[in-house]
């Protein structure tokens, strides 16, 4: 394992890699510093997707982001899945590998959703043990992301941010802080999102996620099909002030627009960082030198 002082340097402002954008990316469109790939999309035998990924990773830093690790499940870890994940990582050599603090199913079934966890001591012990096993198997730290939740559990014994902090410290893993998910969950459960941000240790966060959501009045759903909302940009600014330069990634999974629209959104993030005098470039330059 690396030490905390070896936390990955910020990569700047990146996009989730999506197939409709392949041609523009391969044509060398400017304005994207790095890409995040959904691991499962490339956990396939071969063909064009892997070839394109090979080309992109030659030109850009890439990180892997999974949706099916199911780290919080009480079902056994899926070792076939982990073997495929490790095989892909060997090919891609990602800057880091992330997934979500959630479970996706039990009894051999995958519900293909990021399902909520009760914030109990029992759950914490269980997940810490599994993160330890996964990190040992992969030979590297993983980053875990806070998910948007629509329900909570009466049995929870701590807040989500207390749970994430304890998990990161005990399992010695990184955190991927999804700023939109903080906003969504805070609205849905009626707490102040700033309290969440303030409760997360700065030395554990290697990445931010930004995305759009759908406001249904009584609750918000994390849909990734809209531009980032202004309230979430405000929370991003607050988060940047606390954490400084952290690799920032814009996600869009539905209603995927022309890549130039997404680059314009990335420029909004850049403008916020610039206004706050947070310098991503010098950190990235330092990484290239090292």
């Amino acid at each position: 394992m690396t030490t905390l002082s070896q936390k990955p340097q910020p990569l700047g402002f990146g996009l989730g890699l999506r197939p409709p954008h392949y041609p523009d990316i391969l044509d060398g469109i400017e304005g994207i510093d790095w890409f995040e790939v959904i691991s499962e999309n490339y956990m396939i035998p071969g063909g064009q997707p892997l070839r394109i990924l090979d080309e992109i990773r030659e030109r850009y830093p890439v990180v892997q982001h999974g949706v099916s690790l199911s780290i919080a499940s009480t079902a056994p870890l899926n070792m076939d899945y982990l073997a495929d994940l490790k095989k892909l990582a060997k090919r891609v050599k990602p800057r880091w590998i992330s997934d979500h603090l959630c479970w996706t199913g039990v009894h051999g079934i995958n519900l293909h959703d990021l399902l909520p966890v009760p914030y109990t001591v029992e759950a914490l012990d269980h997940i810490v043990e599994r993160v330890d096993k996964v990190q040992d198997y992969l030979g590297q730290r993983i980053a875990l992301e806070n998910v948007s939740t629509y329900v909570s559990f009466k049995s929870s014994e701590m807040t989500e941010w207390e749970f994430l902090t304890a998990l990161a410290q005990r399992a010695d893993c990184w955190l991927l802080l999804d700023v939109n998910n903080v906003f969504v969950s805070a609205f849905n459960h009626g707490y102040d999102p700033h309290t969440f941000i303030d409760g997360i240790p700065t030395d554990r966060v290697v990445q931010f996620h930004m995305a759009g959501h759908q406001d249904n009045g009584t609750h918000i759903v994390d849909t990734h099909d809209h531009p980032v909302r202004s309230e979430v940009w405000d929370l991003y600014a607050y988060t940047l002030k606390r954490f400084g330069a952290v690799s920032t990634l814009l996600e869009r999974d539905d209603n995927i627009p022309d890549i130039r629209e997404l680059i314009a959104e990335l420029d909004q993030a850049r403008a916020i960082a610039s206004r706050l005098n947070i310098d991503f470039h010098s950190a990235a330059d330092m990484e290239q030198i090292s």
């Binding site: 079934i109 293909h112 959703d113 609750h219």
Partner: protein, 268 residues
């Protein structure tokens, strides 16, 4: 206090079976009732799986229309919970599901369309393998040829279609009205393959299809030539077999893994 396992069992039951017992563990939020919030997960489950099927079967979707495709998806989902961590594989069983369903196999072109789209998907991201080159063959002494066993690449699938489903697919993919369905007197022999990183398919003559199938089953080249004589006449049988093989190698359909040790001369 319920255990983590009990909560997960209860939550999964709510999603798969609609059993809402887990609600006793879920508080209302300041603005919404717990059953509405649980319903977000219940709705998302089928919506997400339908989206996977829409991605994998776009022409079947276009052919059936939204309403019927939605019915098909919901019937499939009800019988087929996902056991794969990868959304890419969830729809793999749809053709079999349709073939085994009295409702969805009643119109034969429907499972055939599903089978064709499934095959196109499978070859698209099948393994990349080292290919046999015509130059490689020139290095093999003529006396060894009868015992050579060739292997097709994994990015190929063979189909036999009993309807004009390929015409239907060709119309749908170019946004034209599909032709009326027609049953074929002789099944159409189809090869699905990958060409320049894209999935494609073409028809084959009966003779070419039979030779392909026997080759894929591991029959040595010498026996293939004998079978060609049986299927299409003795004249030029070896030349016809060589011509098909030449075409397949040129199209990148044969791996470089040639079994040269096979000494069997018996009929398959």
């Amino acid at each position: 206090m319920p255990t983590l396992e009990e909560i997960q069992n209860g939550f999964q039951k709510a999603i798969l079976e609609g059993d809402k017992s887990i609600l006793t563990q879920i508080p209302d939020t300041p603005k919404e009732k717990n059953d509405v919030l649980l319903g977000i997960y219940q709705y998302a489950y089928s919506a997400r799986l339908i989206e996977f099927l829409e991605n994998d079967y776009p022409q079947l979707h276009a052919y059936l229309g939204d309403e019927q495709f939605d019915q098909l998806c919901r019937a499939y989902i009800a019988e087929t919970p996902s056991h794969t961590p990868n959304a890419r594989w969830y729809g793999n069983e749809l053709p079999i599901f349709m073939e085994n369903s009295s409702i969805w196999s009643e119109q034969l072109q429907l499972p055939e369309l599903a089978r064709l789209e499934y095959s196109l998907n499978i070859v698209f991201d099948a393994s990349d393998e080292p290919l046999l080159r015509l130059d490689d063959l020139a290095q093999i002494p003529p006396e060894q040829w009868p015992s050579l066993v060739f292997s097709p690449v994994q990015a190929t699938r063979r189909l036999e279609m009993e309807t004009n489903v390929t015409d239907i697919w060709n119309a749908l993919v170019t946004d034209q009205a599909p032709p009326d369905v027609q049953g074929l007197a002789d099944p159409l022999q189809v090869l699905v393959y990958r060409d320049d990183q894209q999935s494609s398919f073409r028809s084959m003559s009966y003779e070419e299809a039979m030779m392909w199938d026997k080759m894929a089953a591991g029959v040595p080249f010498g026996v293939l030539c004998e079978l060609m004589a049986t299927w299409g006449g003795e004249d030029d049988a070896a030349m016809r077999a060589g011509s098909f093989l030449h075409g397949w190698i040129s199209a990148g359909l044969i791996t470089d893994q040639i079994d040269m040790t096979n000494t069997s001369r018996g009929a398959p």
